[in-house]
């Protein structure tokens, strides 16, 4: 069965219908955008932050900012419950929640004179909610850093052929930066130079791997590679952004974008390619939808290693269905550049629907692998699956498979590193902002120390090996942020005497689901404190996957490092839960006051 084409085709049709019927209906009947109203981009035009930008440019900007590792990695966790629930969540999540969240974030900013998330939250709800939200975002940033650092380290170790291309792409980006900014050389030439480095890297990595010179990588601890990724990130977080992070991200954009296009086109063409190039006997086989077994009659709705389908599935697939990150993009950048109010739907809503298509294509990459060939760490299957889908487009030659595997593994590492490079900067700014004039404030105001603190925290968390659960914590906080944004949207709408059900129902669903997920995850981490249970959990991957530093220590009887780290993560989950409750309570109170309520900022 050509699953990729079915997944992407169905997604494409449903999302087009969703855009033309449901999204346009909500757009007209709730927000009623008016193209004659001046947007903040016109009102406050400064040629920098506020600048009317054409919707095609802004669509590209929004899509690039939201489509990263989330829609590609998220589906694999959800697949432990079978592909049907994952498929349905991507469809319904994007259709009823995802697009409206992104669109609401942009429209609130446009209708609030270009204010960002924090000031809008203060004005609509109060100062306590704003502080809660900012605190929430700090923990969220830490989780993003930890989870992306782990992904990077795990891919370096599992696909040693991708180490050299990743490093050479970064070097190429650095050189392109020198060419562009120091030597003032044309950007096209600088881009070509950067891409040449990447191509040389792929060839070199592949060759070294094929002759066995990279075999030693498999025997090394994963922490080495997480450390390597974070060293690269430290440069990006501390050097001038035009010297490192920006040109590296620019050069990395090209292979990452090519991967997205290859994946979507390959999936759509899969029926044709399967007929033309019967490359592999396992081509286009689906993972089974797990039936109940004697030992676990609750399958696929509950698994010992992963927990219950609700709420876990809904936080596992993050950006592919809905993501709080998108509201940060929409409010801090896109909303300030919108040329016309009527552009909000194609830019914000359209980008999200397109991301839904990408999530479908990414999911299909996991289901084309024969069950027998699936590696236990499921997220590591993506490059293999993506290569199977796209191999036919290159004539199905024998060499194209290994090249594509190296390419897709490199792309995932680049996605992780490009996001990671910016995270310690945001973390430092957020921590400095919140610490105010306290004694620890100078630490975060120093860029070297502030970035180092963020990176060390990320390393410690990633070293637990509890990647799966950190991803769920990240997903929980990410989706909760989205739920809180939808709640803010509902408060805004009721203040303006507009219907709120289209935002309020998704907000309630997301907030309740994410809070349940955070409570579940805090319980998972707290259980490791029960004497004698850590070792019992380790072999099943319950908390720490085998081979991680702390799991090895725990196996050797040294429990305190593992318990300290899992204790910190349980604490983090509980803090996120409390902050989420706090912001939700204040926002709900503001919503209940209705249209006539006055803004009453809670006393500091």
């Amino acid at each position: 069965m050509p699953y990729p084409a079915i997944f992407v085709g169905i997604g494409l049709v449903i999302f087009i219908v969703g855009y033309w019927l449901y999204a346009r209906f909500v757009d007209r009947s709730v927000w009623a955008p008016d193209s004659s109203v001046k947007t903040p981009a016109h009102m406050y035009m400064d040629g920098v932050e506020f600048f009317p930008t054409s919707k095609s440019v802004l669509f590209g900007f929004q899509f690039k900012s939201i489509a990263a590792l989330g829609p590609i990695s998220g589906p694999f966790i959800a697949l432990v419950f079978g592909w049907v629930p994952a498929f349905l969540w991507i469809i319904f999540g994007t259709f009823f929640i995802g697009w409206i969240h992104d669109y609401t974030a942009v429209m609130i900013t446009v209708r609030s004179e270009g204010e960002s998330f924090g000031p809008v939250c203060y004005r609509l709800v109060g100062s306590r909610a704003r502080k809660g939200l900012m605190g929430f975002i700090i923990f969220y940033l830490i989780l993003v850093m930890a989870v992306f650092a782990y992904i990077c380290g795990a891919f370096f170790k599992a696909f040693p052929q991708s180490i050299i291309p990743t490093i050479l792409t970064i070097v190429g980006g650095f050189i392109a930066g020198i060419l562009m900014y120091r030597l003032k050389i044309n950007i096209i030439i600088a881009t070509v130079v950067g891409i040449i480095f990447m191509v040389i890297g792929v060839a070199a990595g592949l060759w070294l791997n094929m002759v066995g010179l990279l075999a030693w990588v498999a025997a090394t601890p994963r922490e080495w590679w997480i450390g390597l990724a974070l060293v690269l990130v430290f440069f990006g977080a501390t050097l001038a952004i035009t010297d490192w992070a920006q040109p590296v991200n620019y050069i990395a954009f090209w292979p990452c974008f090519a991967a997205i296009i290859l994946l979507i086109v390959g999936a759509l063409l899969s029926p044709l390619l399967t007929m033309l190039y019967p490359l592999d006997p396992v081509l286009i086989q689906g993972l089974p939808f797990y039936p109940p077994t004697a030992t676990n009659p609750l399958l696929p709705f509950y698994t010992d290693a992963n927990g219950p389908i609700w709420p876990i599935l809904f936080v596992a697939i993050a950006c592919g269905a809905i993501s709080g990150w998108h509201s940060l993009v929409g409010s801090s950048a896109t909303g300030k550049q919108l040329n016309l109010e009527t552009d909000a739907l194609p830019v914000a809503g359209g980008s999200m629907f397109l991301e839904g298509v990408l999530a479908m294509a990414a999911m299909s990459a996991y289901v084309v692998i024969a069950p027998a060939a699936v590696v236990p760490s499921w997220f590591l299957n993506f490059p293999t699956g993506a290569a199977i889908i796209t191999q036919g487009m290159f004539g199905g030659s024998a060499i194209s498979g290994p090249i594509l595997i190296a390419f897709f593994a490199m792309v995932l590492e680049l996605y992780a590193i490009t996001v990671l490079q910016l995270m310690p900067r945001f973390f430092r700014m957020a921590a400095a902002d919140l610490s105010g004039t306290s004694v620890i404030a100078p630490l975060f105001k120093n860029k070297w120390i502030g970035a180092l603190i963020g990176i060390l925290i990320a390393f410690a968390f990633a070293a637990t090996g509890a990647w799966y659960h950190i991803w769920l914590l990240f997903g929980g906080s990410n989706q909760l942020l989205a739920g809180l944004c939808l709640m803010l949207g509902s408060v805004y709408l009721i203040r303006n005497k507009k219907p709120t059900k289209y935002t309020l129902i998704p907000a309630f669903f997301m907030i309740i689901t994410c809070q349940a997920a955070l409570l579940w995850e805090s319980w998972v981490f707290l259980r490791t404190w029960v004497p004698g249970t850590w070792n019992a959990f380790t072999p099943t991957g319950w908390v720490a996957s085998a081979g991680s530093l702390v799991a090895d220590l725990a196996a050797a009887g040294v429990l305190w490092p593992a318990q300290l780290l899992t204790g910190i993560m349980a604490f983090m989950a509980i803090v996120l839960f409390i902050l989420g409750c706090l912001v939700f309570y204040d926002a709900f109170k503001a919503w209940r006051h209705g249209p006539e309520s006055e803004v009453e900022a809670t006393a500091e």
Binding site: H42, E49, S54, V57, P119
Partner: protein, 95 residues
Amino acid sequence: MSPEDEKDAPEEKGSVKGTVKDFFYGMAMQGMVRYALKTRMYLEHLFMLITLGDMLGIPILPPYYSLKLLPYAVPNIKTWKRTLFKERDFTDALF
């Protein structure tokens, strides 16, 4: 919209080629260009704060020199004041 605003609005190319070009520009370059412009804006605003700080009650330079620089700064004063007084938090720095 007034004619002035229409002048500010970007040119609508309309053609498929133009749309695709804009889409690629948005994906690849828009973030970089905004960052470069933001950097210039911060430096210019810093310069204006040093030279024309007395407008905001911060007398740094003797008024004579401020007066000499004033004609060059006049076009940006409104934007400068608005940006300086605007409420911000770190989410503004994300993109």
